[in-house]
């Protein structure tokens, strides 16, 4: 099987997986409504009765009108509608998903706004957080991985590996609370509440805005780097250790080549290949943010949006987010596999 057929096969299975995801999204987010018997329209009506979102409405007939209007606007079939109506609704939904027509946000956050806009509004903060964090942890991880992978069993290797295991075992939010406690509360270098400094909204100068965001995001980025560099370090180390046992390395040594040349010219170039695959996958996941980190540091990013979407029964938003995650992961996997094949001619299908 050639590379082209392999790519086509991967795209086909990826498309099947995507269809499963689309169908599953439809069911998963509607399950709570079916179990409790309360659909978003009723929730909306109850919210109006309690006085949330645009003033309190006490007239029952008006509320019923509003519920009917809500159902019409979001095209919601009744929970007890016959299966045929639900099937039509489902088919319409699948078509919308495949044509990237995601509709409007149904409840908090940002009710009535197109969900794509809601996502785009959150995206910059998540990218400011995740891009530096991911790149830094990859760089630190690769650097340390090469360092200990070239001398496995050394004191540095053992201590860094144990540190890596300890970091794997620790809950990241705990590390973040400790960082907040020490640097924000005790030393007062950052505001305890985290978040984005209110002044940054006022900055017209993009450079000032960016430096302010980076100042505010120092602790979250630091915690993310500490939390995820061990993964890269381990990957790099194990890959390098594997490569160093290959015959051609022994040949290079036998030729009397300098150990540094062997390491960087012969071993590293081959050992970095599996890492490249993972880098592609990691970069594809950057936009989804970090739910817990964004919670701890009050960052209005995409991770928070995920949480808000699933907690508020906001079907259109949750469906779009989950769909995009599946799409990016599937595409990234295909790209990673193909680029691996291109980079490493030994790979055969």
């Amino acid at each position: 099987m050639g590379l082209k057929e392999y790519a086509i096969k991967r795209m086909f299975t990826g498309f099947i997986t995507l269809l499963i995801v689309i169908a599953a999204n439809f069911i998963i987010f509607r399950l709570p409504s079916f179990i409790t018997g309360i659909d978003p329209a009723t929730l909306y009506g109850m919210g109006r009765l309690m006085g949330g979102g645009g003033g309190r409405q006490t007239d029952p007939t008006k509320i019923i009108d509003q519920i009917i209007d809500f159902k019409r606007r979001w095209d919601l079939p009744s929970l007890v509608a016959p299966i045929g109506i639900w099937f039509d609704h489902f088919m319409k939904y699948v078509f919308n998903m495949l044509t990237f027509n995601f509709g409007r946000s149904m409840s908090a956050p940002a009710i009535n706004q197109p969900v794509v806009q809601v996502l785009l509004a959150r995206l910059p903060y998540t990218l400011y957080l995740m891009v530096p964090a991911t790149l830094l942890s990859i760089l630190v991880g690769i650097y340390l991985g090469v360092k200990i992978g070239s001398k496995p069993g050394s004191k540095l290797d053992v201590s860094l590996m144990t540190t890596a295991m300890a970091i794997y075992a620790l809950p990241i939010f705990w590390l973040q609370i400790i960082l907040l406690m020490v640097f924000a509360s005790w030393l007062g270098w950052w505001p305890v509440g985290g978040g984005i400094s209110s002044t940054s909204y006022g900055f017209k100068d993009p450079l000032l805005f960016f430096s302010d965001i980076m100042y505010m995001f120092t602790l979250p980025i630091l915690s993310l780097v500490v939390g995820s560099f061990p993964g890269w370090m381990l990957l790099m180390r194990n890959s390098l250790v594997d490569v160093m046992t290959e015959d051609y390395i022994m040949t290079a040594r036998a030729k009397g080549l300098d150990e540094r040349v062997i390491l960087y010219k012969h071993a590293f170039r081959n050992a970095i290949l599996p890492v490249v695959t993972s880098v592609i996958l990691a970069l594809a996941g950057v936009w989804t943010g970090a739910i817990i980190t964004e919670q701890v540091f009050n960052i209005p990013g995409v991770g928070n949006l995920f949480l808000a979407a699933v907690l508020n029964d906001n079907y259109p938003l949750a469906e779009m987010l989950f769909y995009f995650v599946a799409l990016t992961v599937i595409l990234a996997n295909i790209i990673a596999d193909i680029s691996y094949a291109v980079l490493d001619p030994r790979v055969r299908y």
Partner: protein, 528 residues
Amino acid sequence: MSVIAGGRNILSQFRRQKEGMIGLIIVVILTILSFASPLIVPGNSMATRHAELSAPAWMSVFDPDYFPDMTLVNATFKSAQDMNKFFIDTTQSGSNFYTHYEWVSEGAPNSPGALNLTIMDDPNKQLDYAKPEGKIRVSYFFTWTKNKPPLKFTAHMAFKLVNRGNFTLYKTTAYEVSIAAYITYRGMSGEELRFELGRKGIIVPPQKYDPEEGIYIIEPPTIDVGKWLDITSLLESLYKNTMFTKGANLEVRFTITFRVKDPNHRVAGGISVLLDKIWLKAESHYYGVFGTDNYGRDIFAMVLDGLKISLFVGIVATVLSIFIGGLVGLISGYFGGKVDEVLMRIVDFLMVMPGLPLLITLAFVFTQMGVRPLYALIIVLTVFGWAGMARVIRSQVLSLKSAIYVEAAKAAGASSTWIIRKHILPGVWPLVMMYLMTGVVGNILAEASLSFLGVLTPDWPSIGRILQEASVQSAGGGGGGVGGGGGGAFIAWWWVLFPGLTLTLIGLAFYLIGDALVKIFNPKMRGY
């Protein structure tokens, strides 16, 4: 090599792995500790035990001003001797009142005796308008000798009110009764500072005018006649820190007042108040192994209880998902074909869904279906845990299947079950053991994260929840609790540090065991 013989071999090799043994010992110790928690820290871990935000007890070593918990007085009135601890003042009453105190042998539950204070009005005598009340004060004087105030000061008394003569509480409206506790500080230059510790007071009849609504509200009676009641009260920290200075003269006073409200309807009678179980406690700044949180709960006890849940969730969810994943991987890898295609699409699907939001959604769904949140969590972790396992086992089975000895067995006419049992399973077994260890850590952390986010409202003691409360209530950050926020002081570092450290320790221990297993199963890794 059969599975069991392999297991025995692993055990003997495992003993030679130093890090692995350390991990095993940590796991065993923490497991024993968590299951022995009813013996080590008896009682309900969610109950208040000591002053709020007490530091860990061993911290007292570094404190030159350390003092232990002190019970300044603890009077159960075993005999009349106990009355001598107090200064009883009956001279503050109007001239028409009769006051009297004595020791009686009828005490509060589990107490042999009590102090009986009686105040009666005599309507035949002219009302003393300057002092229209009968009053008895029971005072305890003490000097604070420590360098710093206690972390918490509590006063307690039990009392029982009995009607005397023609007076009936709540029916005779001419009198008011109040029972109160005060603390008074007297400085060197005669300045006084007084704080009311607590009061069980009543206005007779028990009505209160509400000026906003323009009506009388009937207040429920605050004293039940003929029943033993308690006043437990603590001193606000502002007063406490002002009053409890070194060398301060302090007085805790319990006052019984019987006041004439309506001079025209006086009766021949009054009240007797039995006082018992008077204690004053000054609590130190230190308690327990890990200190206390802002409800005065023992963090060590909570962590041990939470650890039990962590281990339960971690192990049960991991074993279940490894069982399912192993089975799927075995079937998928060994039989291949259409079954493999279908199963792998399901695995693909599970691997591309975003984990945490999906966990939250599904856990919520299960909880709505009436499943206990803890079991819902285990189900959800299992549903999502098996996919990765299945993929790993499948590829292992695929590589084992193409081994020459399997081909030979097939050619010799061996059945599928025989090949799986004799050739495939022994090769899969090491992977299962390794994934068991890493999976347990993953699931322990998943439970902690979900509890920390606070979206599940866990009904179990969880280390994640301790950390959530620590970050929301003492700390800022708004960690956990969706949309939480606000500032804080982070004074209680022990509240944050130890729960997380315990989680890290148990996770690290499992990893060390897993690492040792890797080295045993993969000889290439030995020596590294």
